[in-house]
Structure formats: C-alpha cells, structure tokens
C-alpha cells in the first residue's frame, strides 16, 4: 500500500475531477459536496475511461400516491458520473452502477493531510 499525491486541496474545486495515472493504472478522483471520492478509471463494461465523462444528477421518476407518474426529474441529492464510451452511470458516492448495485468500480480511499490530497493505492 502506498499513497499517491493528487494535488493541494485548494487547487481542487468542488464539482471537479482529476485523473491520476500510476503505471498502467488510472484513478479518477472527484470532489463532490466537499468530499473526495476515488475510483478505478476502467469501466466494468468494456473497459472505457469510466471517470472521464459527464457528471450529472441522477434522473428520477416521481409517482403520486395513486401510482400515477409525475414525470422525470433530476435528483436533488444523488449525483452520477457516466462512462463516455456507452454511458454506464455510476453513483458518485459509492461507484456502484445506478441500475445494478452489484456492478461497481474499484473504490480507493482518499486521504487529506493538511492541504495535500492523496489516494491510497
């Protein structure tokens, strides 16, 4: 186990992402609502750069109590990032595929030491 330096925390704005490369490995690091999340950049689908695509709120369909649909909405709380190759959509906080939680990206721990951000590899 080692620690891979990412950058200074003040250089990493909320809503941003960085890709760090360690040999053949690639890790996507996100800053979302003040927290850091890090995942393998190899999509579990066909190996695309899972962390390099669009960051977008989850789409929800809301139902009324009588089960009629109110239509489609962007979630107020759940954020996803989508693999740019075919659109596999992963939960920002867990790295799980939003449609099948068993499908998930490898998650890495992110450490903050003072102003320095590291990923534990």
């Amino acid at each position: 186990m080692g620690e891979q330096y990412v950058c200074k925390s003040f250089e990493f704005k909320d809503g941003e992402r960085r890709i760090i490369r360690i040999g053949d490995d690639e890790i996507g690091v996100f800053r979302h609502e003040g927290e850091f999340f890090a995942y393998s950049n190899y999509c579990v689908h066909q190996g695309g750069p899972a962390c390099e695509g669009l960051i977008i709120a989850r789409v929800e369909e809301r139902l009324r109590p009588d089960k009629t649909s109110m239509g489609l909405f962007f979630s107020e709380k759940d954020m996803s990032f989508a693999c740019p190759w075919h659109g596999y959509e992963y939960d920002m906080r867990t790295g799980q595929h939003i449609a099948d939680r068993r499908v998930r990206l490898r998650k890495y721990q992110v450490l903050q030491k003072g102003e320095d951000i590291y990923v534990v590899v």
Binding site: D24, Q46, G48, L54, A82, P84, H86, G87
Partner: protein, 430 residues
Amino acid sequence: MDLISDRGRRVPIEDLNTTRLLDHAAKQARDRRYEDVLIVDCDAHHYENENLSEIIPFMENEVFKQLSLSSRTKGRGHISPVGYGWQDMGGRVTRYPMRSSEKTPVEKGPKRDVELGFRWMDAMGVDYSCLFPTGMLNIGLHPQKEMEFELSWAYARWVTEKVLPESQGRMYTMLGLPFSDPEGCLRMVETFGDRKGVGGFMVTSVREKMAVYDNAYMKLYRALEERGLALAFHSGPNWNSSTFQSCNRFISAHALGFSWFSILHCTNWVVNGMGERFPKLPVIWIESGLAWIPFLMQKLDHEFMLRPSECPLLKKKPSDYMRDMFYSTQPMEIQDMQALETTFRMMNAETQLMYASDYPHWDFDLPSTIWDLPFLSDRAKHNIIGGTAARLFKLEPRNEAQRQNLIKYGNYRGSTAAPARESTPPEPAL
C-alpha cells in the same frame, strides 16, 4: 469544451481526440496481441451528412439536385428523413456533442472521415472496416423514390471515388440500395458492383413497407449472386413508426426497432424460399444483436411444422436457412452467458457470425467482446473476429502472423485479392 448537465450546469470535458478516448481499447489490443490476428469490422460508420455539399453534386437528376442544393442553402431543411431519438443520452456519450471539437489535419471531407476512421481502427486493432453512412440509414423512409435513388447514387459515387481511395485499402463498403426502385437497384449493382472497395450492397431495413420477396427484385438478387457480392440488411430504429408510437422512452423504440426490422424482413426472406432461389448469395443481417435469432428460429420452425403448405419452396426448416446466412455481432447482448452460448450454438456462430463495432455509434462493441468469451474455441474466435469476413470479402492479411493464423483456421484460401475487383472507369467528371 463544456457539456450541458443537469439544470443548465456546465461540465468541462477534454476536447475530443478519438485516439485518446480509445486509449483503453488500444491497451486491450496490445495485451491481447491483436496485431497477430486479422480483425475485420463489418459495420462501422461515418457521418456523411457532414459532407452533403460534396455529395449532392453527384446527383444525376438536375431537378432533384437543384432542389437539394437550394434546400441546403443556409442550413435550411433536411433532404433526407431524420430519425429522432436520444442517441447521445444527454451528452453522457460524449463523442456525439464533442464531435466538432476533434482536430484533424484536414478539417472537412473524405480525408477527415478516413483519418477519424484510422484513429479508432488503430486503437481497437481493427485491420479492415466496412464503412456505412449514418443519416442515410433512414433513406428508406423517404416518400419520393426518385430522391431515394438520387441520394443513394450520389453517395455511392462520392464514397467510392472520394472516400475509399483515401483509405489505403483498409476500408470497404456495401453500398446502400434505393430499394423502393428495383430497376435503380439493378443499375447500382451494374454500375458500382465492380468498383474497388465494394464488397456488396446493403438494404436499409428501416422501412414501413418492403416486400423482399417481390418478383421485381429477382434480377437484383441474381445480379448480386452472379458477381459474388453480398447482400446486407442494416437495421435501425424508427420511433416514428406506427408500431412504436406507444413507446414513451427511446430505449423501448431502440431496443425493439433494431430487432424488429430484422425479424420482419428475415421472416419474409426465409418463408418465401429466397435461400432456395439464391443459394450462393451471401446474406448478412447487420446491427440487430443476436438475441432475436434464437427467438425467430424457434418461432418459425414451430409454425412451419404446422403450416408447411404456406412455404412450399422450403426443403428444410426455416432455422436451417437462417444458419446459411451471416450475422454481425453488435450490439451483442452479453447478459446471460449460457443464453449467449446457446445462441452461438443455434446459429453456427463459428462459421456464420462476424465481428462488428458499429463505431462511433453509442452502443459500439470492442473486439474483446468476442475475444474474451469464455466458451469459444480458438477457431471460433479467429473466424468471428475476422477470418470469416476475410473469406467473404477476400481481404488480405496485413502481416505474416495474420497470414499464418488465417491459414491455421482455414480462412486464407479466399484471401487472394483486394476486397473488391478492379475499379471500373469512373463516371464522367462533375
């Protein structure tokens, strides 16, 4: 470049560079030593609609040419039917909205199309690709058969005279037929069938009315069979079709549409005994995935046993005729590995299935979708990923290791010439 996300939020995304986007595909190609294996992509696309100003002048009829040129002035109007839907999934598939940000040495035209093709082919380890248009896959929905012919003709001239010659022999095509005009189809085959890079002809199967068994087409099929050219049916969605009007999500119209048009036309092809009438004509069903094949085989065999008097030309079961035809892999439904293995067995995939990427469209498949399947023999892998297509389209290996592999799996014999015959004299200059 920024992409639009939820609530108008903008997310910066690196400008598109296909080589960079497909960096992980290139790693797969290196890890699996694809350079030793001839890989043929039987279905790849370019966006010919970005080059309409070059294509329209090849139209023959001056009236339709003038109409088209006028309609295109200042970007007004569409000259061919436009399929609607959300292919880019709101920008989640970034190469759609980012497309214009990709830099190439030549900004526009055939050289750019070929350069972009080489970028993804080289990244994936693809040696040859069969190039198809994108927008013109909807040509069968045009209400004017004259325009269908004019556009098919113009595209055929442009792609064979301007695009394929730039591709160093690595791209070939099956030219779209103006299927509403049987005489026009025949003229296309007679005119373009011998051109370099033409491996066959293609019917855009997104059509609301198409009788593939009509007597009017027999001359066409005979002409293809005599020339050793393939006939492909390329599927697609049509959300506007009355069949799919009740689909309130694109996923429904897309998933069903691609399967449906192949199911429909393949059924008509089989029950009318086309396999008996043209036994040497290679027929290829493109871009419907594979899950529809075992369904249709079982369904038709079941009904055929009950109603053989409606299909008197058939000398064997419908599924046997289906096993005589070819299929492209993409978009391959890799969900239940046992179901997929059964599908491969039922269709004789080892000899009848050919890899296709469909790149750059949103649901493209990498060669690893075939190469990594746990149940395939080495022979089946080599055949599907390129060997069968090498035989069918007479494609040469690009290095000695590929040649040895083609020989090893019995795919070299046919590979003695370029994918097409010598070029015929081009049409008169514009």
